[in-house]
């Protein structure tokens, strides 16, 4: 049953990908992209990757669609149909697909326990996590502690991308420094009574759920990346309903900048604290006298840093797009 449902969902995935590329209307392409994301999340869940599915849900359900739609309203909604010879591209793509499919026969089949991937570090992680770190979620343990360097890099990529968006969209042209501000007259969707009431009810729950995902990440699916996106989605909902100015009044831009910088710094400083206390960079065992408690404290701190950075970065990106839209 699981294999059959996986095959069904994957077939839908391939069909929707073709449809996304074929449609000329970019708005339709964005809508189909969100179906694509839903299918990806269901596939991830079926393939035992609950954490990844939660990330895809947190990011794909709200944030991606909102950013795409903002970009569309700043550019064009339709793709111009240009007759161009695409035979070469189709030829290249078909040949490469066939070569790739031929190559897959050398791969171990789905779920093979003897596959090389499962032979080396993974069993070590699964075996040593209870011993060294003492938390049930092995994914969080690997993310925060064993491969903490990798995650540090990813956080700084998010940070850099956010800075890049702010550079490109944030400032007005002219001799004096000025940022685009949303017009206070724009009250979003607040004249629609039903969305307004429901959203006022839901925004606190979304933020609460985000915090739950943040702090429950060591025991179940969750962690900083998911929590940051979920909290950001909640505040984006507030901005959609009440207008961007109201959202900026609730969480000011300076606070968002502080969140992005502070989260990344918190991560780096936890790493440095390890050095100062006589361990290695990002070695949390030395943070407390009990190495296991130290590891848990370290993971808690860096997950907090990740969550704060991701939330701030997504919101800054959203505001950068939205403020241009309404000039």
């Amino acid at each position: 049953m699981i294999i059959v449902s996986g095959i069904f969902l994957l077939t839908l995935l391939a069909i929707i990908a073709v449809a996304i590329v074929r449609t000329k209307n970019l708005f339709v392409a964005v809508m189909l992209t969100s179906i694509f994301s839903l299918l990806m999340a269901a596939n991830f869940f079926i393939l035992d990757a609950a954490d990844v599915a939660l990330t895809e849900a947190a990011v794909g359900a709200g944030v991606t669609t909102v950013i795409f739609l903002s970009a569309l309203s700043l550019t064009a909604e339709r793709e111009r149909s240009i007759t161009r010879k695409r035979y070469l591209a189709i030829f290249v793509v078909v040949v490469t697909t066939l070569v790739l499919i031929y190559a897959t026969f050398d791969k171990p089949r789905l779920g093979d326990p003897q596959a090389p991937v499962h032979q080396h570090v993974a069993p070590w992680y699964l075996e040593k996590t209870p011993e060294f770190i003492g938390i049930p979620n092995v994914v969080t343990a690997v993310l925060g502690s064993f491969r903490g360097y990798d995650t540090l890099g990813e956080v700084f990529v998010v940070f850099t991308a956010c800075i890049g968006v702010l550079f490109l969209l944030g400032s007005r042209r002219g001799p004096e420094y000025a940022v685009y501000e949303p017009s206070p007259g724009n009250t979003g969707l607040s004249h629609h009574l039903i969305p307004k009431v429901v959203s006022r009810l839901l925004v606190p729950f979304i933020v609460l759920f985000g915090l739950y995902v943040q702090f429950h990440g060591e025991y179940g699916p969750g962690g900083g990346f998911q929590a940051g996106s979920i909290v950001a989605a909640g505040i984006i909902l507030h901005a959609l309903i009440e207008g961007e100015a109201a959202a900026l009044a609730a969480v000011p831009r300076a606070a968002l900048l502080g969140m992005v910088v502070g989260g990344a710094m918190l991560y780096g400083l936890v790493g440095l604290a390890g050095l100062v206390l006589g361990g290695n960079f990002l070695d949390y065992s030395v943070l407390l006298s009990d190495p296991i408690a130290g590891q848990q404290l370290g993971i808690l701190l860096i997950e907090a840093g990740v969550g704060v950075t991701v939330c701030g970065a997504i919101l800054l990106i959203f505001h950068a797009f939205a403020a241009r839209e309404l000039v």
Binding site: A14, A71, E79, V92, D112, V117, V121, A161, L168
Partner: protein, 119 residues
């Protein structure tokens, strides 16, 4: 049944190349970015396919349950971070497209190249 074990990889190959086609053959810049994100998702799919172990469950240790088989946590960690990074880099790409549209008044690659050629 033996062949169905490769189905995930076939879909990976097909979706990957659909995304690649959008990147090389489409002239609209936003369409290229959508293609890029499809390409990226296909890679995610391949990694997550590799993590599955037959009869396994997600790598979250349950109390009081012994001798469970767990799927591989490593690919999950790599992809989990990559999804959020993917969104922020996508936003960066869209920001560049928005700026291009402000300067050139078009997001079609052919138009932009024509304007550049004319100086």
């Amino acid at each position: 049944m033996e062949l169905l074990g490769y189905y995930n990889y076939w879909v990976f190959a097909v979706v990957l190349m659909i995304g690649f086609y959008a990147v090389i053959a489409k002239v609209n810049l936003i369409k290229k970015l959508i293609g890029l994100s499809i390409f990226q998702s296909a890679v995610f799919l391949m990694y997550i396919t590799m993590d599955k172990v037959e009869g396994g469950t997600a790598p979250i240790i349950q109390e009081g349950v012994s001798d469970q088989i767990f799927s591989n946590p490593l690919p999950q960690v790599l992809i989990l971070t990559a999804i959020v990074v993917g969104v922020s880099t996508l936003a960066l790409g869209l920001a560049i497209v928005v700026r291009i549209n402000e300067v050139y008044g078009s997001i079609e690659e052919t138009d932009i190249l024509d304007m550049d050629r004319k100086g």
